[in-house]
């Protein structure tokens, strides 16, 4: 079967010019909306890209965390292998991280049961720490500054902490004075704890750490 095409329509020139007009007007409508779409794509890219980059470096180091009970650390931040996000966080905060050969800095913002540390509650931190030449335990306020208390004490070092007969220690954090190792909590707000182990063999292990050798953070009682 063959299909015959008419060699030429009688009004072909008229049709062709009409077609050109239609396609021209179509192109005109298209070109406007293409510009709008390009603008839309670029603004999506800028808003999402810059927004997500800002958000990713706003808080803590996003990758390479190791955990030990309530404590967590990002040891690779203090090494050659610091990831780009960690480098960006360092650029934003101006922090100088502890290098792996110097020690390991662990932070806690929750107690051992996973509840956020709050100045309204009292906490007991203690018993043992991993092997280290020195360690320091520091209490920070919601803004990340060492707490300013009337006793001018915001932490303990391993040398000055009072220990019991079997060598363990316990530090009580709270508003009310307690005998022994007591850290005065600020009036209100969230709390942060940092445990820094100086000259420790722990830093070489990259896997998750054994929580039993780290001090536990136990919530005692909460005020009104």
């Amino acid at each position: 079967m063959t299909i015959r095409f008419p060699a030429a329509l009688p009004d072909a020139p008229r049709l062709a010019s009409a077609g050109r007009r239609v396609s021209a007007s179509l192109r005109k409508r298209r070109s406007l909306s293409t510009a709008a779409l390009v603008l839309y794509a670029v603004s999506v890219a800028l808003l999402l890209g810059l927004g997500s980059a800002h958000w990713a470096v706003l808080a803590d180091y996003p990758f390479g965390k190791i955990k030990a009970g309530a404590w967590q650390a990002a040891p690779r931040v203090g090494s050659r292998e610091a990831d780009p996000y960690a480098r960006a966080v360092l650029a934003r905060t101006a922090e100088i991280p502890l290098a792996i050969g110097e020690g390991l800095a662990l932070t806690a913002t929750q107690d051992s049961s996973g509840r956020t540390l709050d100045a309204g509650c009292a906490y007991r931190v203690g018993r043992a720490t991993p092997q280290a030449r020195y360690w320091t335990l520091t209490l920070y306020d919601a803004d990340g500054r060492p707490v300013a208390s009337e006793l001018r004490r915001s932490g303990f070092t391993s040398a000055e902490v009072l220990r019991d007969q079997d060598g363990g220690f316990s530090v009580v954090i709270g508003r009310e004075p307690k005998p022994g190792n007591w850290l005065q909590a600020p009036e209100s707000g969230r709390l942060g704890l940092a445990l820094r182990l100086y000259d420790t063999p722990v830093a070489t292990g990259m896997a998750n750490l054994d929580p039993r050798v780290f001090p536990s953070i136990e919530r005692l009682e909460c005020g009104p």
Partner: protein, 190 residues
């Protein structure tokens, strides 16, 4: 292409571009930042001694989340003018030196345990400067310097000294401040 399809295509393009923007912003941040540790310590480039960044229990420091038992000092270096010799006298206190590059990344750290007769002495140099030093060296009398190759020309040496008791805070501050970082003059050629 129909309009919804074109819109979808534009959204996809936007998302892909957003990924590129995100990655470039994160990668560029350490280089564009003017508030990172290196930029803040840039004035110490010419100093011969480390400068105190945070005294123990200091409240007036830009360094975030400081350890109140530790004195932190630093000096910035630029290896373009030659290798930098770092020399620290160690005492009874815990003391550590760490080496950071501009733009983040810590490439070396050492504690006072490695001190020889109470002195920690190191030379920071680029790979090229190390090659030159090795080439110029007398084979029978090799240098005893501890040489550290820095990945980049600009960086920071950070000194930490720990005061185990509040009464040692002054001593820790002095120890942190007394580290010398000078440009190592090449020995005069014979």
């Amino acid at each position: 292409m129909s309009d919804p399809a074109r819109f979808l295509f534009a959204t996809l393009c936007g998302l892909v571009l957003a990924g590129i923007v995100h990655l470039s912003a994160v990668l560029a941040m350490p280089w564009l930042s003017e508030r990172d540790a290196f930029s803040r310590l840039r004035p110490t480039l010419t100093a011969d001694k480390s400068e105190l960044v945070a005294a123990p229990a200091a409240t007036d420091t830009w360094l975030p989340r400081t350890d109140p038992a530790v004195a932190v000092s630093a000096c910035a270096y630029n290896l373009d003018e030659g290798p930098v010799r770092i020399s620290a006298n160690t005492g009874a206190l815990f003391q550590s030196l760490s080496f950071h590059t501009k733009g983040g990344g810590t490439f070396f750290a050492i504690t006072d345990r490695a001190a020889v007769r109470g002195v920690l002495e190191l030379v920071v140099m680029t790979r090229r400067q190390l090659d030159e030093a090795l080439a110029a060296e007398d084979e029978d009398e090799p240098s005893t310097d501890v040489r550290i190759v820095a990945p980049r020309g600009e960086g920071l040496v950070v000194v930490r000294a720990l005061a185990a008791f509040p009464s040692l805070r002054g001593a820790a501050e002095d120890a942190a401040k007394s580290v010398s970082c000078t440009i190592d003059q090449p020995p005069a050629s014979q």
